[in-house]
């Protein structure tokens, strides 16, 4: 009834882009706002 699934901690895309020198290019051309992932949330409490 209890099942474990191991997770790996990998390199974030942010780090990959930084290493490739692409991170500033990314931020220059794209607006990044993690809040846009949650359009259905109640923003001001319930």
């Amino acid at each position: 009834g209890i099942t474990r699934l191991p997770l790996e901690r990998g390199k974030k895309l942010r780090e990959v882009l930084r290493e490739k020198g692409l991170l500033h290019h990314f931020f220059q051309h794209h607006r990044y706002d993690i809040g846009t992932k949650f359009p259905h949330a109640f923003p001001n409490g319930t």
Binding site: G1, L5, L7, K12, H24
Partner: protein, 310 residues
């Protein structure tokens, strides 16, 4: 001009595991994301470079695959995933989830996705977030009576290995002390009410209460600019031109007591603060928070349990 990029939230995902789909099984690396509710992986009919760089599901190689003829568009951050809906057996560790509906992306979202290590996303949010009413994987596991309890829990390690998502139970070896339970305030995301944010005994954000989402699919802690600014000041971080905040590794006396190790990304390279602005009033408690607190997502009682992780 600022353009948007689909699936931008993939910028800060860092924990993933392997599942398989089909008969015989085809393996995929997916992010277990409590901030969404769909399962999707790339389809072999996707010709974009990003798809070619990842594992792609081939329906013709699976004897248990069923086509639904249904198109799918999952809104995901600033963009969306376009694809089709199929049904097949999904195996999560030893759990065999039959007739699971899932998305097969036919266009891969964004040029930067080519650099992402994982192939897709497995959402662990509530069903009402799922596109087209598709039953999420976790709900199917419960419906098929495969789990001992209607909950799952997550332990995130700072190391490359050792992290785990536990379906159907709680493992006391991953935490010390008691579990603090907080009721879910909105059953969609794992959203809770937070009373305040205190640094060094002083309330510096979330005065009067605020809403927070516990999200395994985000690595940072994010919140409204005013609150984040106060926290950045408290940890001695400065925001650079592109919104990233840098801090000197030599200013540890200024970091909040006990929070430095948990909330600064102190790996090799620049020391980047783990706090980030969002445009809304929500707080997002991502992996840096979950690494500190073993997190229990209790669907049976609609509550989140937090206990001090080992």
């Amino acid at each position: 001009e600022v353009a948007t990029e689909p699936l931008l939230n993939t910028l800060d995902m860092e924990y993933y595991g392997t599942i398989s789909i089909g008969t015989p099984p085809q393996d995929f690396t997916v992010v277990f994301d409590t901030g969404s509710s769909n399962l999707w992986v790339p389809s072999n009919s996707c010709t974009s470079l990003a798809c070619q760089n990842h594992q792609m599901f081939n329906p013709s190689q699976s004897s248990t695959y069923k086509s639904t003829g249904q198109n799918l568009s999952i809104q995901y951050g600033t963009g969306n995933m376009e694809g089709i809906v199929g049904s097949d057996t999904v195996t999560v560790a030893s759990l065999v989830d039959t007739n699971q509906l899932f998305g097969l992306s036919t266009t891969e979202p964004g040029q930067f996705f080519v650099h992402v290590k994982f192939d897709g996303v497995l959402g662990l949010g509530y069903p009402n977030l799922a596109a087209d009413g598709i039953t999420p994987v976790f709900d199917n596991l419960v419906n098929e009576s495969l789990l001992e309890e209607n909950l799952f829990s997550v332990y995130l390690s700072r190391e490359t290995t050792g992290s785990v998502v536990i379906f159907g139970g709680i493992d006391e070896s991953y935490f010390t002390g008691s579990i603090n339970w907080i009721f879910v305030s909105y059953q969609g995301y794992w959203q809770i009410s937070m009373d305040s944010i205190i640094v060094n005994s002083q309330e510096i954000a979330c005065s009067g209460g605020c809403q927070a989402i516990v999200d395994t699919g985000t690595s940072l802690v994010a919140g409204p600019p005013s609150g984040i600014s106060n926290i950045q000041s408290a940890v001695g971080a400065r925001q650079d031109t592109y919104g990233e905040s840098n801090a000197s590794k030599n200013t540890s006396p200024h970091f909040p007591h006990l929070r430095f190790l948990a909330q600064m990304q102190n790996d090799q390279g620049p020391c980047i603060s783990s706090f980030q602005n969002t445009s809304g009033d929500l707080w997002i408690l991502g992996d840096v928070f979950i690494r500190v607190y073993y997190s229990i997502f209790d669907r049976a009682n609609n509550r989140v349990g937090l206990a001090k992780a080992i």
